[in-house]
């Protein structure tokens, strides 16, 4: 029974934790612009993150070592440092976008400008990292993030013509008036949103923080294989609501208020309340995860003591990195740069950085020295290899597409 509760909680947490500011923005934008013609990308991205998160969780549980620690052992100091710099930069942009996302959610609830909220939200994120136990933190924000289920309810209440939805999901075309390059650019962004690398750093470090062992492998598998696909359904619901309401009216999504608009029309004040709680929890949770990830990957590269399982004085450099990242992230947002733009760029750069994370994981998950008989099976390797190719293609295409399409304009 206790086991069952743990598994259920883990799955619910994975669902709530799947969606962050990048998913909110990318899915809403794509739905309003392309309808259901890019829905397949979410499917591909969800399978990809399942494949690699399962590997990363298994590596962490069997070897009790987090991913970035092993990245350095297998890439060597120089390549791992280049990887660290690039990953830290992308992670930092994502952190800034999430911190802005929390403030934007509060703005929608209070009509007080998001810029005024930034100092408070950053402080709150830091306090949670400083004082709250890892599992408590994960559970609270993951479960609260579940209230984004309002998107799915809203989509259903909007009464889509299911036949035509399924048809356009399964027969995607580039809509008239959109170039192929623009279509592919948004495909890459959406893919970057689903497979954001910090999810893997966080997932594997979290597994070590929670002291997973090989006994937890089934829990790992259940969390990933049930939780992430259900999270993907939330993403598709966001896309569906904007496709049904905003697309026919020629509305492009430029802010978070518009992301909520279709669901507000469908469900009214109660729906809005759920969405605002969901926005807040999802972005707050992701801000915690990215802030911690910044500390995790740098500490793991240098072999410093890291993690929330020890007192802050015992991991001073880890906490210093987290603190500095948060302060810098808040400062970036306070320059009043458009937070939605920051989010969009963080997605493209995530897509660019994908192979840096996923290539070493695939190698390590095959290494018997680390995996003690739990190396990848045929299915994991076949899927891993296919996704490695997809990830390489997406990464190579990200910047050229951004230039050609002027970032999707």
């Amino acid at each position: 029974m206790k086991r069952f509760v743990a598994v259920t909680l883990g799955i619910l947490t994975a669902i709530g934790g799947f969606v962050d500011i990048g998913d909110l923005v990318a899915n809403a934008e794509v739905g309003a612009r392309f309808g259901f013609d890019l829905a397949w990308v979410v499917g591909v991205g969800v399978i990809g993150i399942c494949v690699f998160a399962e590997m990363a969780g298994r590596v962490a549980a069997v070897s009790t070592r987090p991913v970035f620690d092993l990245v350095r052992e297998r890439l060597g100091a120089r390549a791992a440092l280049a990887n660290l710099l690039a990953s830290s930069f992308v992670n930092f942009l994502t952190l800034a976008a999430e911190v802005a996302g929390i403030a934007l959610a509060l703005e929608l609830a209070s009509s007080v400008s998001y810029l005024l909220w930034i100092p408070f939200t950053s402080l709150a994120v830091w306090l949670v990292i400083w004082r709250v136990r890892f599992e408590t933190m994960e559970r609270i924000f993951g479960l609260a993030g579940l209230s984004l289920v309002a998107f799915a309810v809203g989509f259903w209440r909007l009464g889509p013509d299911w036949g035509s939805v399924f048809h356009s999901v399964s027969h995607p075309v580039v809509p008239s008036g959109e170039g192929h390059a623009t279509y592919l650019f948004y495909a890459v962004s959406l893919f970057g949103a689903a497979m954001t690398p910090y999810e893997v750093f966080f997932f594997s470090s979290g597994a070590v923080e929670e002291r997973w062992t090989t006994d937890d492998l089934n829990v790992n598998r259940a969390n990933v294989l049930i939780g992430f696909p259900l999270g993907g359904i939330l993403s598709l619901s966001i896309m569906g609501t904007t496709a049904l309401v905003l697309l026919p009216r020629g509305i492009t999504v430029d802010n978070l208020a518009q992301v909520a608009l279709p669901t507000v029309l469908a469900l009214g004040k109660l729906g809005l309340a759920f969405l605002l709680i969901g926005f807040f929890a999802a972005t707050f949770g992701a801000a915690l995860e990215t802030a911690l990830s910044s500390g995790y990957i740098i500490s793991q590269f240098f072999g410093w003591q890291w993690g929330k399982m020890v007192r802050p004085v015992d991991a001073p450099r880890f906490h210093a990195v987290v603190l500095v990242s948060l302060v810098l992230g808040a400062m970036l947002v306070l320059t009043s740069v458009d937070p939605i733009k920051v989010t969009e760029y963080s997605l493209v750069l995530s897509a660019l950085a994908l192979p840096l994370t996923y290539f070493p994981i695939l190698v390590i998950a095959n290494d018997p020295d680390y995996m003690h008989g739990r190396t990848n099976g045929r299915v994991a390797n076949a899927l891993g290899s296919i996704f490695l190719i997809i990830v390489l293609v997406a990464s190579a295409a990200a910047i050229p597409l951004m230039i050609v399409t002027k970032a999707g304009q």
């Binding site: 929608l108 209070s110 020629g250 509305i251 430029d254 208020a257 507000v264 009214g268 809005l272 970032a407």
Partner: protein, 145 residues
């Protein structure tokens, strides 16, 4: 790697700029895009007004939604105004587009003010004006192609 990131950052900056319009075609395309984007803001506001009329939303949310619609329209207009028209045909187009955008921004401003005051009737009363400006923007966009 670092060079690629630096390049991406450079684009981040360049992305927000508008290039000069060299030909009438080019200018017409820019006009069309601007009309399209302001139309999007007006339609957003209409949905917001609709939500207020049906009592489906809260004051703070709708005031942010309408404020951002106005902001969006204002920024599109000032970007469009900063493009140099290449010839006299373009001048005429500029006057027409700019006139319509000004009206759109003005109506959006009225709705936003009503929303900040929590004046529900003031918001819903602007519905017809928004519908009218939306239609005119959409007609102009069709004409520009």
């Amino acid at each position: 790697m670092r060079i690629r990131v630096a390049g991406a950052l450079g684009l981040l900056v360049l992305g927000g700029c508008v290039g000069p319009a060299r030909t009438t075609d080019d200018y017409t395309r820019k006009a069309s895009t601007s009309v399209h984007d302001v139309h999007s803001a007006v339609e957003t506001a209409r949905l917001g007004v609709d939500a207020v009329a049906r009592d489906r939303t809260t004051g703070p949310y709708v005031s942010v939604l309408l404020g951002q619609a106005e902001e969006q329209a204002t920024s599109v207009q000032s970007t469009f105004d900063s493009v140099q028209p290449p010839n006299e045909d373009a001048d005429r187009l500029r006057d027409e587009v700019d006139g319509l955008l000004t009206q759109a921004v003005s109506v959006l401003g009225d709705v936003r003010i009503a929303a900040r005051r929590g004046d529900t009737d003031g918001i819903t009363g602007r519905g017809p004006a928004l519908a009218d400006i939306s239609k005119r923007l959409s007609d102009l966009e069709d004409r520009l192609g």
